[in-house]
Amino acid sequence: MEYHALHDAPFVFPNDAHPAWSIMIVIYPYITGMVAGAFVVSTMYHVFHREALRPVARLAVVTSLCLGSCATLPLLLHLHQPQRALNVVATPSPSSAMAGFGFIYSFYMLVLLVDVWLLFRPAIVERAHSAPGPWKNVYRALALGVLEITPRAAEIDRKLIHALSVIGIPAACILHGYVGFLFGAIKANPWWSTALMPVIFLTSAVVSGIAVLTLLYLFLCRSSRMEPDEECLRSLSRLLWMFLVLAVTFEFGDLLHVAYEREEEWHVIRELLVTKLRFSYLTLQVLIGALLPLLILPIPAFTRVATPAFRHACTGVAAVLVLVQVAAMRWNVVVGGQLFSKSFRGFVDYPVTWLGREGLLAAAVVLAMPMLLLWGAMKLLPVWPPNPESDSGVKA
């Protein structure tokens, strides 16, 4: 196979002119990654007992649930026959990696749902007694009719939460590692086909989950005129920095491997990087999204220089940049992988549109929906940890 032919006159296979996967397939791993990442943060407290993360432990699990509830939306919007979507679970093909999605996603969401319910059960039961008017019935429904929690039941709940959090860690890893596998297992595409893709997706997922949680925490503290917990933000900054180092190592290590070996696919990838993905990869994913936060994060993570406000600002800015990095990474993988023809002799354009089922506007709505859900969930459930003295035995 002669990739050097890219330098001759371009030639694109006729069916490659229009990329088959749209921005919705960019958003799908973006949201799924945040689902997995936010859950991992909650397990840092519930399983690994990092007390500093107590202020965001509940927020993390609720955020994960809200994001997870919207994770299938981009897929539905992308499917050309969405009315047949359930065929994936009704008549799955065992040879297809994609067929596993329904089962993996359902299992993870079930674990998450039960986890959230058990975690908030004391608050739900308490509100089922004390809430005013029709809200009382809402909480009674949420309590599934069980309006009393004995100390024994609370103890069992605590054990179940721990067990579900433990189960949730591999489930979250499988959920997002699997998304990476969907791309990594496509041997037709040299930009996707790498055994490291599941690991790359997984580490970037954790990074995006920590980043979105950090931003939410800062935003919610500011909007409710609450002082952010210094140690919590420090812990989040450290986690973010550590997982960003891992993500960057895997992402660029894999690319470096291809570049250094200079196997045949490198000629396509090099052209892709210096032409079509010059801005989104080199500028956004590498410089702005990875290098800058790697330099900024050590300030709030490992030092006590300047004021707390300055360090919080550093954490916030780094979190925003990291979210940009992960979004750029998803774009570069999904769209970038479709910008060269399988003839390996030419490139195509991805037409970005504002309107339509797979346009930017629809994408913005899909991204906003989990935040709306979270707003609703926060009206319904107390995401901030209860005071230790009022804690009814369930680890908040």
Binding site: A5, L75, Q81, A99, G145, T150, A153, I156, K187, F344
Partner: protein, 301 residues
């Protein structure tokens, strides 16, 4: 008693009452499998448990049936695929192959029109196409698509003959891989292989995810703009089942496209395969294409 006070979930209800947990009792000398003391609601709870057991068994059974390889697709493909000219269902299925002789192709484009008309292929998409490779004396290699109406009628400027070292045409169509990536990745059995080894798309089952389009290394698959399902060359399976040649083969004026039974040593394709050196596209991917080529060069991808 209001709806919310009813013990909807037995487990939760018993936890609240300080009794059982996780399906068994934890207090009062109960065994882990259930209570040793009879309760008034025990009979109904037992029957409910039995019901849940039965329902779970049936559900898992039904799911495992759907997971059996080819449980869904196999039935359909076997019923849809009667051997050409009928025949006993137990008779050995014919094996087909496709041979492209690039040394014979003149880029007439007749095959392209025949395919588009036969299979209602939308404009801008293609089940088959013909590539022209032009090697210039200065070392450049240019590739373009043969227009359906032919080069002369298209009015496109052509390279000067004195600048050209050599040129040839390479028709492309589905490779009908024995180990087809498109078939492997389809999540819903919409990509099915006929008993004759021809890869088909079940348009009534396709969900339009596009995974098969990504997985095909040859760029043959596309999302049909008009039907909104995946589409591809199927060697005119409907014609083959009527003992006819694929439309492109029938339209080719030079015999560059040869289709036939590779399990019949007297067929034209078998004779040509026996005498001509052939190769396949992207052999390193291990897809084992049934479409073979005469005269492929390194430039062809």
């Amino acid at each position: 008693m209001s709806l919310f006070e009813l013990p909807i979930l037995p487990m939760s209800a018993t936890i609240a009452a300080g009794g059982c947990a996780s399906g068994g009792c934890v207090t009062g000398g109960c065994a882990s499998g259930g209570c040793s003391t009879a309760r008034p609601d025990q009979a109904s709870e037992t029957s409910r448990r039995e019901f849940l057991k039965t329902a779970t068994t049936l559900t898992l059974g039904a799911m495992s049936l759907t997971l059996l390889p080819g449980a869904m697709a196999g039935d359909e493909s076997s019923s849809a695929a009667t051997p050409p000219g009928g025949g006993h269902p137990d008779a050995k299925k014919p094996m087909y192959g496709f041979l492209i002789d690039t040394t014979r192709c003149t880029g007439a484009g007749k095959c392209l029109t025949a395919c588009r008309v036969e299979n209602s292929v939308p404009e801008g998409q293609a089940r088959t196409w013909v590539e022209r490779y032009v090697h210039f004396k200065d070392g450049r290699v240019e590739v373009d698509l043969v227009p359906e109406i032919g080069y002369a009628a298209s009015g496109e400027p052509q390279p000067e003959a004195e600048d050209v070292l050599r040129a040839y045409f390479v028709p492309k169509l589905c490779n009908q891989c024995v180990d087809a990536p498109c078939n492997q990745v389809c999540p819903v059995h919409a990509s099915i292989k006929s008993p004759e080894g021809i890869e088909l798309v079940d348009a009534d089952r396709c969900i339009g995810c596009g995974y098969c389009v990504q997985a095909c290394p040859y760029g043959i698959r596309y999302m049909n703009h008009e039907t909104n399902v995946a589409d591809k060359c199927n060697w005119c399976y409907h014609r083959v089942m009527r003992n006819e040649q694929p439309a492109c083969v029938e339209a080719c004026p030079t015999g560059a496209r040869v289709f036939g039974r590779i399990d019949d040593p007297d067929s034209e394709i078998s004779k040509r395969l026996a005498t001509l050196p052939t190769s396949v596209l992207k052999q390193h991917l291990g897809t084992i294409p049934l479409t073979r080529y005469v005269g492929l060069t390194d430039e062809v991808t």
